[in-house]
Symmetry: C2
Subunit: 146 residues, 2 copies
């Protein structure tokens, strides 16, 4: 993937978002961070990713204020990578990816991991956009205005 | 980006979803399809993408049952690419990308496009995951179970 040094002048927020996170490894690192992984070696063993690619993606994530580095709680020389406020706000995106995958990419008796809500002990219902009146919004009932 | 001929055996639905749509061009083509674009030349001029890359991504989208081809309504020799049922179910993902971009990637007086709900004539409130009790779910209040 071509490295983008400058972000687009795009007036489309989807396009600009993808300038920051439109890369498979980047999204998988963010997923792992939501799952509690924080150390370079944790990401590396989870993803089976080359060191130089992981280093590059983590650097971009820090530069883009999606992750930040902090000393480990144990006080060792290593550092941890954690999600910033902006990074944590990618949670709906992670849920959207997961729910679409769950709905369409597994056969009926094929096992996949589950995202469990700790309050109810159950999976989340399918997340859907709502409008200001609280009604579900269908993609045929919206318009992009430039 | 390395072309993946086979999808992963991953038990993580996010990982498997990214096997299908974890590519910036692919997501931009899907965005354009939601915006009503359907012809090869429409995608090409919207995205400024090389013909061979666009051909490749459209072929993958059709193979993965996210888009399908159909004759144009005008009856010309050209064909249109439209979203399947599975493709339309990526709407929450598009909204998540857009809303994150809107919230964090534009300065206060910088212009961006708006997604307007036709019922209310207003933008959508920020989409958030809810649990089975209808309460908003915080990323710190969930657990991934394998």
């Amino acid at each position: 993937m071509v490295k983008r040094e400058h972000f687009s002048a795009a007036i489309c927020p989807i396009s600009r978002a993808l300038d920051h996170i439109g890369d498979r490894w980047t999204l998988l690192i963010i997923r792992d961070a939501f799952d509690g992984k924080a150390r370079f070696t944790e990401f590396q063993s989870s993803l089976g990713i080359a060191r130089n690619i992981l280093t590059d993606r983590l650097r971009s994530l820090v530069e883009n204020d999606i992750m930040y580095t902090a000393p480990t709680k144990s006080g060792s020389a290593y550092q941890e990578y954690r999600l910033t406020y902006r990074g944590k706000k990618l949670f709906p995106l992670m849920v959207a990816l997961r729910q679409w995958g769950e709905e369409f990419l597994y056969s009926a008796n094929e096992h996949h991991s589950l995202l469990i809500d700790l309050e109810t002990g159950e999976e989340l219902p399918i997340m859907q956009p709502i409008n200001m009146s609280g009604r579900f919004v269908d993609p045929d009932r919206v318009l992009v205005v430039e």
